[in-house]
């Protein structure tokens, strides 16, 4: 069995559509510096660095060579994890493995993306050159296909979807790092925003952000010493599924990679009733409909009841299980960092350092990562080492 590991510090940039004042490496530096300050550590106390991003968005090859310095990787062990949209959570899981292996005591993980440097839609379209590249309309087109399927499968309504968007952008107002903060957004406005790909409206989709997020993992000894309330990693599970969209029917309704990852992670921690046992969840919601589908896949409710959870306000800030107090990916999406942000936000809730978005008395928190329908990551953090 691996060693006990906790998250003892996190740091984020202020995410927005275009950070003109820093380059990509400096964006990483900003997040890493913030995490060091949060953990009250110096870079000399960090043993290893893991980076995570999706390099073709910025047209880079091996961007960790350039950006590693920003994460303080100079003269340290370092590499980059890249697994599509899950990069940020997969990077965090790798950082956890580094510490849990016993080979490193302290590990800095930084997820980052600077969408404004490149051309995100085109980068996404660079899929199978023989097939998808000539047909697919980036991520949104594939989402739209699945959403049409999902609505038919589960009877989820446009209004329920729009409510998720409203919740996300309002929650984001409590998060100083969030990209889209819309305190007065209404369901009507969401449904009146332009359709990107039927039936998805612009305000139901995630934005493209410039941003970075850093997490510091530490071994038990250091965590106890450095952090008054460490966020212990209790489970970190990845599952992978078929890449051809049409090889898995009812993707959103089934999302078997997320179901399998959750089942395994819940088994490790001994969770039977996630909606009761989790105090908060930070889930990777690339669009509103996915958030509802993930409620079902994560067992927050029975299949077909995701929409009801929204209608009943169960996942609101004051609900039984607040989902994405940060505003989620729908409010902030620097892809390579989006997963890392989920983990950082879940940790912040346990640290009790989440400011205006703090949920009271968080002891058990869930974070998930999602990538191109193929990958799902599930991470469970707890105030108790277990």
């Amino acid at each position: 069995m691996g060693k006990r590991v906790a998250i003892i510090g996190t740091g984020q940039t202020n995410h927005c559509s275009s950070r003109e004042d820093v380059n990509e490496m400096e964006l990483v530096y900003e997040a890493a510096s913030a995490a060091l300050m949060d953990a009250e550590m110096t870079i000399q106390e960090i043993d290893a660095v893991v980076l995570a991003n999706m390099e073709l968005f910025e047209g880079r090859a091996l961007p960790d060579m350039w950006c590693g310095e920003g994460a303080g990787a100079f003269m340290k062990h370092s590499f980059k994890i890249s697994t599509g949209g899950t990069s940020g959570t997969s990077g965090a899981i790798s950082g956890y493995y580094h510490a849990a292996s016993g080979l490193f005591d302290t590990v800095m993980v930084v997820g980052f993306e600077k969408h404004s440097d490149g051309n995100t839609a085109a980068g996404m379209a660079l899929t199978d050159p023989f097939w998808d590249r000539h047909i697919a309309a980036a991520a949104i087109g594939n989402f739209a296909l699945s959403v049409s399927e999902y609505m038919a499968d589960r009877g989820v309504t446009k209004e329920q979807s729009a409510k998720v968007a409203v919740k996300a952008r309002r929650n984001a107002c409590n998060n100083p790092h969030a990209h889209l903060q819309m305190p007065h957004l209404t369901v009507k406005e969401v449904l009146e925003s332009p359709i990107l790909a039927y039936p998805i409206h612009r305000l139901e989709m995630c934005p493209q952000s410039d941003g970075a997020c850093a997490i510091i993992f530490a071994s038990e000894k250091i965590a106890q010493k450095k952090c008054p309330r460490p966020a212990w990693v209790r489970a970190a599970v990845t599952r992978h599924d078929h890449i051809y969209l049409g090889e898995v029917k009812h993707r959103l309704a089934t999302m078997r990679s997320l179901r399998a990852a959750a089942k395994s992670a819940y088994g490790i921690v001994g969770i039977r009733e996630p909606i009761k046992e989790f105090d908060v969840a930070e889930i990777y919601d690339p669009l509103t409909y996915a958030e509802i589908a993930w409620y079902e896949a994560l067992g927050f409710c029975r299949d077909g009841e995701g929409g009801r959870l929204v209608d009943d306000g169960i996942t609101q800030m004051d609900g039984e299980l607040p989902v994405n107090p940060s505003g989620g990916v729908i409010s902030t999406n620097p892809v390579g960092a989006s997963g890392t942000i989920r983990v950082a936000e879940a940790a912040l809730q346990i640290h009790g350092r989440a400011g205006k978005r703090q949920i009271p008395d968080v002891n058990l928190a869930l974070a998930t990562g999602y990538g191109v329908y193929c990958w799902s990551d599930v991470i469970i953090l707890s105030s108790k080492p277990g």
Binding site: N14, C16, R19, E20, D21, G59, N119, A121, A122, G123, A125, L126, P129, F130, W131, D132, R133, H134, I135, A136, A137, A138, I140, G141, N142, A144, L145, S146, V147, S148, E149, A152, P194, I195, L196, A197, Y198, P199, I200, R202, H242, Y244, L245, G246, E247, K249
Partner: protein
């Protein structure tokens, strides 16, 4: 953010990525496109274990972790299992030019195939699209042996 810090001018360094690649088709895509070009047939492969017919054809069934087996003709008719109409403008990464919008797209389960394929639908009005509708592949006259040889899928009007 350091927006309050007075900075005379913030620069960007512009560059164009212009790289050429040569993607090997391998025996599966090669046979698929050759059949499409020469005979107009759409082909899949069957997994010898789970018996699923997979389109596009590929060397391995990931579910069973075995080599795929016999070739099977599928379609050209099929059923729409998911659909959309694309309205947002984007740059086509392979041409560097904006793709013309709006257009319809669907997941089409070709008759005889387990897996569905994503492709363009002739009908672009979401009001006229629905799950379960029947469609048929429309091929180019002068085919070149690539996925563009299937122009789009057109709606099969239900018989009166």
């Amino acid at each position: 953010m350091n927006r309050n810090l007075q900075q005379e001018e913030l620069l960007r360094i512009a560059t164009q990525m212009n790289l050429e690649f040569r993607f090997p088709a391998g025996i599966h895509y090669e046979r698929f496109f050759r059949e499409l070009k020469e005979t107009g047939r759409i082909m899949g492969v069957r997994c010898p274990e789970c018996k699923r017919v997979l389109v596009p054809p590929r060397p391995v069934c990931g579910e069973c972790f075995v080599r795929t087996g016999e070739w099977v003709e599928v379609g050209p008719e099929g059923t729409v299992i998911a659909y959309t109409s694309i309205y947002f403008p984007f740059i086509d990464g392979s041409t560097g030019k904006p793709r013309s919008i709006p257009y319809g797209a669907g997941l089409i389960q070709l008759d005889g195939s387990f897996s569905a394929i994503n492709h363009i639908l002739e009908e672009g009005d979401p009001g006229k699209l629905h799950i379960g509708m029947r469609v048929k592949a429309v091929l180019k006259e002068e085919r070149e042996g690539n996925i563009g040889d299937i122009l789009y899928f057109k709606t099969i009007e239900p018989e009166e």
